[in-house]
Symmetry: C2
Subunit: 289 residues, 2 copies
């Protein structure tokens, strides 16, 4: 093993504002509601290790509302559907703590307001992502659409003779460049295009810094849940610039052969990766070198 | 002179909807108000020959409101400022006929509504054009700005920490491509970008067809007032594709040496060029060949 292994950790690695807030709310819940069972509906954030730690503290994950009878339920950081929120709030024996990221909440409100005002709403995001499932539920089903690339825009948008009113927004962890491309392809449409840049700067800042690191390092390690969309995207982006890029969940996933003949290792981590997981990886890398 | 001079006239050459409407209103005015002096405040359209014909019919151009004492005043196709409109309407001895193009009127309303709603309004256009002077007058002077290229956007727009609310619209005769470039450079700003595509399709259709003609012809003749912004732009665009492109106002401006060794001549004309001026040019070209 190379004795001079130099490790650089991105300043923007790990918890974003919304995740930090959600995890704090979950950490405080057992003390705040000492007599009650604490639940999260779905994983509170997309990090299995954090979810596991919370479980040991008594914060239990359930996947269906039917599993909830009483106690406290925490709404996860990336939000749930409007219908589920209503069911939870109307439940007579449940106390609801909303840990939805305020930036996601803002995007949900935009979908609701634009639908209400009669706009055709376009959500740029991954159709299967829970945040997007939440967002779309706030829109009029007849006039709300999820697109993940310019080609997903229905051809009818470009042939309508009358001026259209279109509202565009994005899943908070999406790429600014693709958002721009989608907006650009809509600009020629006669009428109004209302663009809400709901992309969280934490995501773009993290991506930019990781890409800079990937340029200057021999190897990139991206730490985060395999179910975390922003971690996966961070890894894909780095991989394009630095072939020796690896996505791990914990220090145990590190493989010593990755570092043969390497001198500088760059580290970044998704928005839902806690500091202690990053620290464990750093410790393991020190032992390797 | 080449005996086989072939002339192709663009289908989109000449009067657009708004100009046709304005000239009709001016033509009808002397009959509608037989006992009154008819005026236009500034040229009704940007074509000296049409203005001259109307003058002979008794429709007199004045350049200042102080020159108006009584009678009928027609507001020109590209609009005037809000302040001037109010003065005209409040004048006890004037009857106002509004010949503002409905598409320009729509853009004026957008500036007023967006300013009222607190948006920073960006007007993409030529700062000195009368249409733009009209548009800007409907905005809050503190929050309404004219830009003619992406570099005109104040640097502060990109450094503001808080989400901004920006409304973008365009002078009706502007280029779609430059409009897209300006919108694109604003998309990364956090907050809301509300894009109103107020560019008239007549302008873009005319430009596209003239460019196609310029490709297939040996020489391009663009007919229109020297004070007509859309005619000047049409000529500049054609000149980029076909060096032998000439901007004329009337048939008298044609020079026979332009057509030496030429076989196909393409003709287009600005939105304010009447059919009779185009016909005169065609007649002169027939005599040449």
């Amino acid at each position: 093993m190379n004795k001079k292994l130099q490790v650089k950790v991105a300043k923007t690695a790990g918890f974003c504002f919304g995740v930090k807030r959600a995890v704090n709310l979950a950490n405080e819940a057992p003390e705040k509601y000492p007599q009650q069972q604490i639940h999260t509906l779905g994983p509170i954030i997309h990090n299995p290790q954090v979810v596991n730690r919370l479980n040991k503290m008594g914060v239990k994950q359930v996947d269906r509302i039917s599993e909830l009878e009483q106690g406290v339920v925490i709404i996860r950081s990336h939000g749930i559907t409007r219908q589920l929120t209503q069911k939870l709030e109307q439940h007579p024996d449940l106390t609801v703590t909303d840990a939805t990221c305020p930036f996601v909440r803002r995007a949900q409100k935009i979908v609701a307001e634009m639908s209400e005002a009669g706009y055709q709403v376009l959500i740029f995001g991954e159709p299967d992502h829970p945040e997007v499932a939440g967002l779309i539920s706030y829109g009029d089903p007849q006039r709300t659409l999820v697109i993940s690339k310019p080609a997903d825009i229905p051809a009818g948008f470009f042939t309508k003779p009358k001026p259209s009113r279109i509202a565009l927004l994005a899943q908070t962890t999406q790429s600014q460049q693709l958002y721009n491309e989608i907006a650009l392809s809509l600009l020629a449409i006669k009428g109004e295009l209302r663009c809400f840049n709901t992309i969280c700067t934490a995501t773009s800042d993290r991506q930019s810094e990781a890409l800079e690191l990937a340029k200057s390092c021999d190897c990139m390690i991206i730490i985060g849940g395999r179910n975390s969309a922003n971690t996966n995207r961070l890894h894909e982006l780095c991989k394009e610039r630095q072939r020796a890029s690896y996505h791990i969940e914990t220090a145990e996933d590190l493989q010593s052969e990755w570092f043969i003949d390497k001198q500088t290792i760059g580290i970044s981590a998704g928005a839902s990766t806690p500091k202690w997981l990053i620290d464990e990886v750093l410790k393991s890398l020190q032992n390797l070198s």
